[in-house]
Structures are given as C-alpha cells and as structure tokens.
C-alpha cells in the first residue's frame, strides 16, 4: 500500500490560511456579482438559494471525502445513504403525526433535535453495517472489488426503499414555518438560514473532532499510514467504522435537511445528489474535509448561475467540465492534497 492520502481534516495551510480566507471572500463576492447581473433584481435570493443547496452538497460530500481519505474507496453507495436518511426522517415525522409547520418554537426545537439525532444515528449505524459487511472483508482485495460492492450496495438500498417503502415521491412534513426574516438589508427564509447555520455548525464540529480529539487523531493517522497507526496502538477497524459512522451520519443530516427544505423524497434521489456531492469532494481536493465543503458550495453556485442565465439543462455539463478543467490544471483539487497513486 502506498503512503496514500494526506491527513483528513486539517488543510496544510501553514502559510496560506489567510490566502484561503481572502480567496473565499473574493470568490463569494465574484459569485454574488455574477448572479446579481443575471438575476433581474433577485440576486440576493438567488445567492441564498446557492448557499443552501451548496450546504446540502457539502454535507454529503464530507462523507465521500472522509471515506476516501481513510480507505481510498469511492463509496458509490453514499448518495443512497443520503436518500435513505431522508426516508428515515420522513418516517419519523409522519409517524409522530406531523403534517405541517410547527409554530410552537419549543416543540419545533425538540422535534428538530430528535429528528436530527435519530436520523443521523440510524444512518451512522447503517453506514457502519455497510462497511462491516460489504467493504471490510475486501480491504486487501483488488481495488475494484469494493467499488463493485459499493455499486451493489447502492442498488440494494435503492430497491429496498422502492419495494419496501414507496416507488414514487413521498411528501415529508415541512415542520419549519415558512417565514421570512429580515436581518438588516438581508431577507432570508427561516429554513434557508437554518440549513446554512446547521451545515456550518456541523462542519465546524467535524473539524474540531478530527483536529482536536484522540479519535480524530486516530482517523488522521490511519489515513496517512494504516500500518504505522496500527503499530502505534490505533484500532484500525474501530477507526474506519467510526469514519463511516460520522460520514453516513452527516449524509443522514443532509437527508433530514432535504425533507425540511424540499418537502419530498424519492428512492432515486441518491444518484444525482451523490454524483454532484462526489464531484464536489474531488473539486475541493478529495480526502480534505474543508475542500469537500468548499466544493459543495461551488457546485451550488454553478447550478444556480446556470439556472439564472437560462442554461439550467447545461448545469451538469458545466459542473463536469469545471471538474475536468480543475483536475487538468490543478490535479489535486482546489485545496487539494496528493492523491495516493493507485497501488
């Protein structure tokens, strides 16, 4: 096994942390200007749309990038984990008997907390089960073997939902009231604000976890060199399982957000969401959690800009063309790290 990927989490930015911050702000301003020029007076709303959808992609992309970082597997089932997560929250909310907005702030808070903890927990466990049975036995098999099982798991998840739950669109209760908040010059829906804040909080928590805790350190060391980590007393199996738990849990959170924001879910949801999120992870530099988040937002902006200028059907082509260009000119992704050469 080659010395694989660079550490999860922390970007090595000893000299460039400020550059990234300045670059991000400059990019946001540029994106805003581009959107505003085409949006016919709706620039601010479109900018918020882009941030919101970008936040969802970012949450999914984190799982891709973490798994890739630690076992170099493109986990094609991850998009479907997100999809199943949206069904778990659909099941929970409809079982609890909600069918619309909850106006009591206290109850809303409790239901949201329960919903997120439950869905994230369930999906985390699902992720660990998938890892245990479909990927772990293949850790030393040829590289394509787990990729094929990942595809197989993706089929299985889709079909379990399709046959067992619904073969069409289900409607999820949108429990957050549809109110618009006015903060200074900014008008933003409660739901959009909630999603953006939630994504940022989850991502910050993840960074802290990976950067500051023992388990996070175990994950980083396993990603750098599994054997060395093992020699240093890291329990590899537990660490990888934990990675799947966290990554899938974040996808579960994205699934809840999907239900709250769009109010629907469908068993085919995972494919394109997964594909775009995966692209986001690569754009940002796969194996790099900050990069995955950045990539998610970039894809959100690309989609919104394409829609604003009336080229919505081309957004997929634009996203993938951007991907090819980034990889050709900056093969490690925007914030990238060295990918392991295929061993």
């Amino acid at each position: 096994m080659t010395p694989a990927t660079a550490p999860l989490g922390r970007v090595r930015l000893s000299a460039g942390r400020w550059n990234v911050a300045v670059g991000t702000i400059a990019a946001l301003v540029a994106a805003y200007v581009i959107i505003d020029l085409g949006a016919g007076g709706e620039g601010q709303a479109q900018f918020i749309n882009a941030l919101t959808i970008g936040a969802i992609y970012a949450l999914i992309a984190l799982g891709y990038t973490m798994v890739y970082g630690i076992i170099e597997l493109i986990n094609f089932a991850h998009g479907d984990v997100f999809m199943v997560g949206s069904f778990v929250s659909w099941w929970l909310l409809t079982t609890l008997g909600f069918n619309g907005a909850i106006t009591d702030p206290l109850l809303l808070g409790v239901v949201l907390a329960v919903g997120f903890v439950f869905s994230m927990g369930v999906m985390g466990i699902v992720g660990m089960v998938i890892e245990r049975f479909a990927y772990r036995p293949l850790r030393s098999a040829p590289r394509l073997a787990p990729l094929i099982t990942a595809i197989g798991v993706s089929f299985i998840l889709q079909n379990l939902v399709q046959v067992g739950v619904s073969n069409s669109i289900v409607t999820t209760p949108q429990i957050i009231p549809n109110t618009t908040l006015h903060i200074g010059p900014i008008s933003i829906s409660a739901i959009n604000l909630f999603i953006i804040v939630l994504a940022v909080v989850l991502m910050a928590a993840l960074q802290l976890f990976i950067g500051r805790t023992r388990l996070g350190r175990a994950m980083r060391s396993t990603a750098i060199d599994r054997d060395a980590a093992q020699l240093m007393g890291v329990d590899i199996n537990t660490t990888i399982a934990l990675t799947f738990f966290i990554g899938s849990g974040l996808a579960g959170a994205a699934g809840v957000v999907q239900g709250l924001y769009f109010g629907v879910s469908v068993f085919t949801l995972g494919f394109y969401a997964g594909l775009f999120a995966f692209t986001a992870a690569v754009l940002g530099g796969i194996g790099n959690t900050t990069g995955a988040a950045l990539g998610g937002f970039i894809i959100g902006f690309i989609q919104v800009i394409a829609a604003v200028y009336g080229y919505g059907v081309w957004s997929e082509v634009v996203v993938f063309t951007a991907l090819v260009l980034v990889l050709v000119f900056r093969p490690t992704g925007i914030l990238g790290q060295q990918l392991g050469e295929r061993a």
Partner: protein
C-alpha cells in the same frame, strides 16, 4: 410520451372508466356459447409489452392489469385468448433494446395476434419497425409523442416503417401531445386570461413536446412567452428557477412534464416563495389524482400550491357509468386502477372486437388471422366501442377521438374539477 405517470389516478379513471358491459361481446356468459358455436376454440395470445419491474412497475403493472381484466371479462366465441407477458425494463429502467427484442419474441410466436404496448415513446420508436416488418398490430395505451405516427419535427413516420412503409401496424388510443399543448394554451389565454407566460419543460419527450406546442399556440393566440426554460428532471431543487421566474413576472406558468419529474415540487416551491397566485397549468402528466392520492401532483404541491392550477386530460369526460371499471378492477386486483389501466383495457377491446369481426372470414390459420387483425385495425373505416368511448383510428393510426377535457383545482373536494371539454376535430383552436 410520458416518462412516468405514477400512481393511481382517480380523476382519469372517473373520466375513462365506463361500463364493461358496453362492449360488443358480453362477458362470461358467452364463454359457454363459444364452445358450442365453433368446435374446438383456437388458442391465441395478446402480447403485453410494458415496463413491469423496478421504478417503472407503477406504469406497466396497472396497465397490464387493465389488459388482463379485459381478457377476463370480454370473450370472443371460438377463441381462447391468453396473455404473453413481456417486460421492457432492464435494471428497473425502460430499455428500447429490450423492447425491440421482446417485440421480436412476440412476432416469432405465431399465436400472438396483437400487442398492447409500449409505454415509453423511445421504446415505441424501436418497436414500430419490428411490428411493421412482422405485420403484427400493436396498440399503445400511453404513447403521446406525435412523431410516432405523423410527420413531426421534419421527420416522416415512414422512417419508422422501412419494411412496409404503407402498412400501419401501430395504433394508439391516447391523443397526441400537440392537441394537449393547444388545449393548455386555450386554458391559459381564454380561461385564465393570461397575456404573458413562463413556459418550462422537464427535457423529456412528453414534457418538451407539450411545452413547445403550448409556447407556439399561446403566441398565436396573442400571448407573450416571457421565458422558455428547460429544467433537468434529475433534481429536486427548483428554487433558483422559481426565483428566476419571479423576475419575469408572468401571468401564467405552464410546465410540460410529469409529476415524477418534480412538477408538483416546482409548484410547491412557487408557493413557498409566495407565488401561488400565479395560475399554473400542465398536461395529463400532472392530472394524476386528488390531494389524497399518494405521490400525486396535488399532494406534492400542497394546499397552497394547488390554488389556481389547471390540467388537461386527453379523453372525453362524458362517459356513462364511470365507476364500473374501477369497481371491477378493485375486485380483481385489490387496488385502484392506474392512470393507464383503462387505456390498456380499451386497446384490448380494440383487439377483441377486431378478432370477432375477422373470425369468420380469416378461418383458423394463425398467420392469416394476424394479418386480418392488423388490416382490420389499420382500416380507418372501422370503429370501436370501448371504455374510452367510441372511436376509430385515422390513416396514421391515431385515435379519431380528439377530445380534451379541461380541469381546474377545486378547494372543497381537494381534487381536479371538470371545467369543460373541447372536441378539436369539431372546434379546432385556429
């Protein structure tokens, strides 16, 4: 043609269902008569060629059940009709290659005299040449893409019939999209009194066809198309399109497509952004049941989104005894019929009536019978009494029933409410 019109559609069923006893041969009782009438019954089959598995099972299965119900209820003396079931879904998605192969399988079985299917128009494009070469008549319950039967977009339908350009071996009971698009424009301009419209489609054959016709006809009526957009069906995020729509400030929004492409969601997101007062229209792809029907447009759009919505259905509304088919279907299969169950039933009725008509002259040779059935159905002078009403097929193989029913949302029943119907043969838009 519809990509996927999922879910049972009470509205459509109410429209299309009619007395099963209205068909020529009377049910059940005649089964006994047949034995007495002509000695040993001839074993023949009707092929069903639909997507039956995976995500498209909701399209194919209820339609195939409609065929099975018709076979069950309507007997032709002297014949023992059974079903040869084919599935054109591979890995859960309709597949033209599999469709063409199934059609060959059916054509190679001499006892198959007629085929009901396909569901998807690109499968139809692959199957029509096969049926044409084999002289095997096929009746699609669901294809609405005009190009399958008539010149469309500069392509002649004879390119689909290279073997025998003059022999029709494909008919359909659904009215083509060009009329529904015209009906949509009629509603927007004359009922909703809109002057400017935002027109979108889901990039699929059915949706794009509808939206294109709508845009052309709406402009011809004197309206202005503020924006013509296409939205990929792979997303559930329509927010940026809806926000963009706001800046055009249209009087009307027309969206060509099907509920599974997310049209209900588009309407719901319009409501979330406070745009539910703008009237919204679509074709029969969104006319798929009341707000209580699972996964229907009205359910997904939600109470706010349902306001001011219109849809069209390519069938007549005035049918006596509309509940009979639904009741019989439910008794046999335990569920409500799907959107195309009645169309599948009607296709089968066309076959059975043709078979009865040619039985005396064609004798018992299967090849002769197959060609006789094909020639009978292709002949525009014949007409059929079906659950969809009385109609015949024109020289292209299209139904002569050019009636479009208009529906609007009714808040008290939370369902589509019949507004009026327009016969485009008697009263064309232009």
């Amino acid at each position: 043609m519809k990509y996927a019109r999922v879910g049972a559609s009470l509205a459509v069923i109410a429209v299309v269902a009619s007395a099963c006893s209205g068909s020529t041969a009377s049910p059940a009782a005649s089964a006994a008569a047949s034995g007495a009438a002509g000695g040993a019954a001839i074993n023949v089959k009707v092929g069903i060629e639909l997507p039956m598995s995976g995500g498209e099972a909701p399209n194919g299965v209820p339609t195939a059940n409609g065929v099975a119900l018709a076979i069950d209820q309507v007997k032709v003396p002297g014949f023992n009709v059974t079903i040869s079931q084919q599935d054109d879904a591979v890995n859960g998605v309709h597949n033209p290659q599999q469709g063409a192969k199934n059609m060959q399988t059916l054509a190679n079985d001499p006892t198959v005299l007629f085929v009901v299917g396909p569901f998807n128009s690109n499968v139809g494009q692959a199957e029509i040449p096969v049926g044409n070469a084999a002289g095997l008549m096929q009746c699609s319950p669901a294809n609405t893409y005009p190009g399958l039967t008539k010149e469309w977009g500069g392509v002649s339908p004879t390119t689909l019939r290279p073997t025998h350009p003059d022999k029709i071996a494909y008919v359909r009971v659904a009215t083509t999209d060009d009329l529904q698009g015209a009906a949509g424009a009629d509603i927007a301009f004359n009922i909703a009194k809109a002057k400017t419209a935002y027109v979108a489609d889901d990039t699929q054959t059915y949706g794009k066809g509808l939206a294109d016709v709508f845009a052309t006809d709406f402009a011809k009526l004197g309206g202005t198309v503020a924006k013509r957009d296409s939205i990929p069906g792979s997303t559930t995020d329509f927010t940026s399109y809806v926000t963009a729509l706001k800046s055009f400030n249209p009087d009307y929004v027309y969206y060509g497509g099907v509920t599974t492409s997310g049209i209900g969601l588009f309407r719901k997101q319009m409501a979330q952004q406070g745009l539910q007062t703008i009237p919204f229209g679509g074709g029969d792809g969104i006319s798929d049941g009341s707000a209580a029907t699972k996964s229907s447009f009205l359910q997904i759009a939600g109470p706010a989104g349902d306001q001011n919505t219109y849809s069209t259905v390519a069938a007549t509304h005035d049918i006596p005894n509309p509940g009979a088919l639904q009741a019989a279907y439910k008794a046999k299969f335990g569920t409500d019929p799907g959107a195309y169950s009645a169309a599948g039933y009607a296709c089968t009725q066309v076959f059975l009536q043709a078979l009865q008509a040619v039985a005396a002259s064609a004798g018992s040779d299967l090849a002769t019978l197959r060609e006789a059935v094909r020639a009978y159905v292709a002949d525009p002078s014949h007409s059929y009494d079906t659950v969809l009403g009385k109609f015949s097929f024109d020289a292209n193989g299209d139904t002569t029933q050019h009636i479009i029913s208009y529906y609007g949302y009714d808040a008290t029943t939370q369902d589509w409410k019949f507004l009026q119907q327009r016969d485009f043969t008697a009263k064309p838009l232009f």
